[in-house]
Symmetry: C2
Subunit: 427 residues, 2 copies
C-alpha cells in the first residue's frame, strides 16, 4: 500500500487532523539506536525523539519488557518489589528532599497529580504558569497551555522569562530577572486580590516548549522562594527536561533550583507509557490520604521492569555524561552558523536539547516559522529528523536519543550547512 | 525479604495509602492464564482481574509485544499501518455508526476525550452522570466520582437506576423506569434553568462501579433518546463493560442502546496501557480540528501490536462466547445460594462479571460491607482472588480473565460455599 492510500485509511480510522509531521509524511517501520528506517529502506538519523532516550529498540529494555510481560503484569494492589525498587532508584537520582513517587501512565496524568498534590497540601487553587507552555492534554492541564497573561481563572500566567526577546529592551540581565520576578509577584497579588489562595507554580525546568530560552540568571531559584513565601509549592515539569536530557539528571540542576514536586514522563519508559511525580513523603502521604489515588496501568510490574531497564542503560552507558559531552560538541559545531546565516539568530540549549532561533530580520527579530519548517522538511529529505517548535514555531528543535554520538553531530551539521546554503545562498 | 519489610519500603517509596488489597496483602510474582502465584508458591485462581482479559502472560500477546518493541516504537506523527488496522478492527466490532477512534493510554484519558468530544460538538458543558460512579482520576473526571444528586456545577448526577433498592418502593418495574427517567429530565431542566447548555450523559453501560444493578427495563435506550432530544450526546463508558466482558462485545449491547461516543480502556492491551474513544467520523474530525489532540505514548506501533494481538486471541479463542457461556454457568451454580444464606440477597451480572449483594438483613436490605470483605479475605486464603465493591462496598465482585472455564467456576462455588458455612453456619 502506498502512503496516499494509508493516509486515506488513517483519516477514516483515526480522524482527519490526527497530527503528522512533514509536508510529505513518512512511513517509519524500524528503529535501531539513533536510526529510523522508512518503508522504502531509507535511513534517517533521529534528531527529534527524546522518548526513546536510550535509543530505539534497545535490546536490554526489550528483553526486560519481554521477561516481565511473560511472567506477570498486574495492577498495584498486590505487593511487588520491582516498583518499589524503581521508585527508590528514581529518588536516588533526585535531590534528597524528593523521596516518594506516585506513578502514572502519561505526562498529562503526572501533571494532574502534581497539581493535586500542591492543591491538597496548600488548600489553595491558584496555579502560576508561563504564557507559552504545554503541560498536557486533559481538561485541567489544558488550562496551562498558551495561557494568556492576565485572566481571571485559577490558572494564570507570566510572560516566559528569556533574554532573546526580553520583556523590556535595553536593560541588564539582572534588571531583566527583576522584571520577570515582578510578573510572578503580580500574579500572586492578583490571586490574593481575587480571593484565590495560591497552590503553586508549575513550569518546565528548562522552558522546553517555550523554545529553550536562556533564562535570566537567578530567575528560577528566586521564583521558587517567592512562591514558597506566598504559601505555594513549586512544581518542576521534567517530562521533557528530565532523565539526562539536559546533560544533568534533571533540568532543575541546570537552571539551579530545587522544586517541591517534580513531574516526570516521556523518556522514563523509552516509549512504554510510564510517568510519575516525586515529592517529599509528607506531601505524597497527604495526597494519598486525600484522594485514594489509583491508576490501573501504573506502578505495575511491567512499568517497573521497563523503567528499571532504562535506568540500567543510562547508568551503565553513562548517557548523562554523553548528553553533556555530545551536546556541548554539537553546539560548538553549530556556533559558527549565526555569523554565516542571518536567519540563524540564536543557538540555545542544554545537553542534547538544542534550539536554533530562525528569524527573517535580525534587527526586528521577526520570527521565521516558515524558514524553520522549510529547513526541517529539507533535513528530512537528507535523512535527518528534526521539527520546528517553540512559542513562535520558529525554533528548530534538535533533541536526539541520548546515544547520539559526535560523528552524528558532524554529519548533521554538514547537512544543515548544505540546507542553509540551498535556502539562503553561499555566505 | 518478607512482606512486612517490603511493605515498609513501599510506604517510603510510594507513600502511605498507596492502595493494597486484603488484610494481609499478597506478594504476587507470576501469572499464567487464570492463575496467579505468590512468593510462597501458593496458587490463586484470579477471579478479579478484568485487565488481563485473555489471561495472564498470554504468549501471543507477549510475542507481539516483543516483536514490535524490538522493531519500532515511536509516536504517531509518522505514518504506521498497524494503528490504522487496529482502529479499523475495533470499529468492526462496534455498531456501524461508530467508525473513528482517538487513542489514549488510560481510561481516565479516554473519558477526558469523550467529554471533550461531547462538549466541542454540542457547545455545551453540562454532563449528567450517576451518583455512585467512578470514571477516572483526573481533576475533571473526578467530578463524576460519587457525585451527590443535586449540585450546582457542570457535572450533575441522577440516583443510579436499579431494581434492588428502588427509588420508590412498591412500584412496578415499568413505573420505576419512568421514575429514573424523570431524574434525567430533572437534571436536564436544572441545567437549562442554570443556563448551562447540555453536553451529554456519561455512564458505564452496565453500571459496574455502582454494583452491577439490574437496570429497570428500557431505561438506557430511553435515556439516550431524552439526552439527544435535549441536544446532548450519550457517552458509554466501556472501560469495564467492554471487550467481551458482558458476554457481548460491548456492554451497550447487553443493556440495549447505541451510544454516540464510547470510551474503552482496561482490557484492550491485556495490561499494556491502551485506551481510546470511538465515535462517528464527524464527531472525531471536529474534536481533532478543535483541539489538535496529541498523546505521546498513544497510537504507537507498540500499542497497536498489543491491541491487535488481544483482538486476535479474543476472536480465535472465541472468548466472547466463553464469557457468555461460563458466565451463565457460574450464575446457575451460584443461584441456590440466596435460598441457603440470608446474607446473599441478590446475584446479578452479565457474562463473566458477577456481583453478589451482601446484606445483614433481608427485609431492610441493610448493606453488609464487612461480610463481603470478610468473604473476600477468606476466599483469598482458599486461593481465590475477589474483592468487595459497589456503591455501598457490599457487593462481592467476581470478574475473572475471560479464559475462565466451567471447572474454575465449580471449584470457586465450592470454596464460596465453605466460606459461607464457616461464616454463617450450615443451612
Amino acid at each position: 500500500m502506498n502512503n496516499k492510500e494509508l493516509l486515506a485509511r488513517r483519516e477514516k480510522a483515526l480522524g482527519k487532523g490526527a497530527p503528522l509531521f512533514y509536508r510529505e509524511p513518512i512511513n517509519i517501520i524500524r528503529g535501531e539506536g539513533v536510526y529510523l528506517f522508512d518503508d522504502t529502506g531509507k535511513r534517517y538519523i533521529d534528531m527529534y525523539n527524546n522518548v526513546p532516550c536510550v535509543g530505539h529498540a534497545h535490546p536490554h529494555v526489550v528483553e526486560a519488557m519481554l521477561k516481565q510481560a511473560g511472567t506477570l503484569n498486574v495492577h498495584s494492589r498486590y505487593l511487588h518489589e520491582s516498583i518499589v525498587k524503581y521508585a527508590e532508584r528514581l529518588a536516588f537520582h533526585h535531590d534528597k528532599s524528593l523521596t516518594t513517587t506516585v506513578f502514572t501512565c502519561t505526562g498529562t496524568e503526572a501533571n494532574e497529580v502534581a497539581i493535586m498534590i500542591a492543591r491538597c497540601s496548600t488548600g489553595g487553587r491558584g496555579i502560576i504558569c508561563t504564557d507559552a507552555a504545554y503541560h498536557g492534554n486533559s481538561e485541567e492541564i489544558r488550562k496551562l497551555t498558551h495561557t494568556p497573561v492576565g485572566g481571571k481563572g485559577e490558572v494564570r500566567s507570566i510572560p516566559f522569562p528569556q533574554t532573546y526577546r526580553p520583556l523590556q529592551a535595553g536593560v541588564s540581565e539582572a534588571e531583566l530577572t527583576e522584571l520577570y520576578l515582578a510578573e510572578v509577584r503580580r500574579v500572586i497579588e492578583e490571586f490574593a486580590a481575587a480571593g484565590i489562595k495560591l497552590a503553586g507554580m508549575l513550569v518546565c525546568s528548562i522552558l522546553a516548549n517555550e523554545g529553550l530560552p536562556n533564562i535570566p540568571a537567578g530567575f528560577m531559584p528566586r521564583a521558587v522562594e517567592m512562591v514558597r513565601e506566598a504559601g505555594g509549592l513549586f512544581i518542576a515539569d521534567e517530562v521533557q527536561a528530565g532523565l539526562c536530557r539536559s546533560g544533568r539528571w534533571w533540568g532543575y540542576e541546570v537552571t539551579g533550583f530545587i522544586p517541591d514536586i517534580v513531574s516526570m514522563g516521556k523518556p522514563l519508559g523509552n516509549g512504554f507509557p510510564l510517568a510519575g511525580v516525586i515529592a517529599s513523603e509528607d506531601l505524597v502521604n497527604l495526597f494519598r490520604a486525600s484522594t485514594r489515588y489509583f491508576n490501573t496501568f501504573a506502578s505495575s510490574p511491567l512499568q517497573a521492569a521497563v523503567g528499571n531497564a532504562v535506568l540500567d542503560v543510562l547508568e551503565k552507558e553513562k548517557l548523562c555524561e554523553n548528553s553533556a559531552d555530545v551536546g556541548a560538541y554539537l553546539r560548538s559545531r553549530l556556533a559558527p552558523l549565526p555569523a554565516r546565516y542571518d536567519s540563524i539568530a540564536d543557538i540555545r540549549g542544554h545537553g542534547l536539547f538544542v534550539g536554533l532561533e530562525w528569524v527573517s530580520d535580525r534587527t526586528t527579530k521577526t520570527p521565521d516559522k516558515r524558514g524553520a519548517a522549510e529547513a526541517a522538511n529539507r533535513l528530512k529529505d537528507k535523512g535527518f529528523l528534526v521539527a520546528n517548535a517553540g512559542a513562535l514555531g520558529n525554533v528548530l528543535k534538535i533533541r536526539p536519543p541520548l546515544v547520539f554520538a559526535r560523528q552524528h553531530a558532524d554529519t548533521f551539521v554538514d547537512a544543515l550547512d548544505e540546507v542553509l546554503q540551498d535556502m539562503y545562498g553561499n555566505s
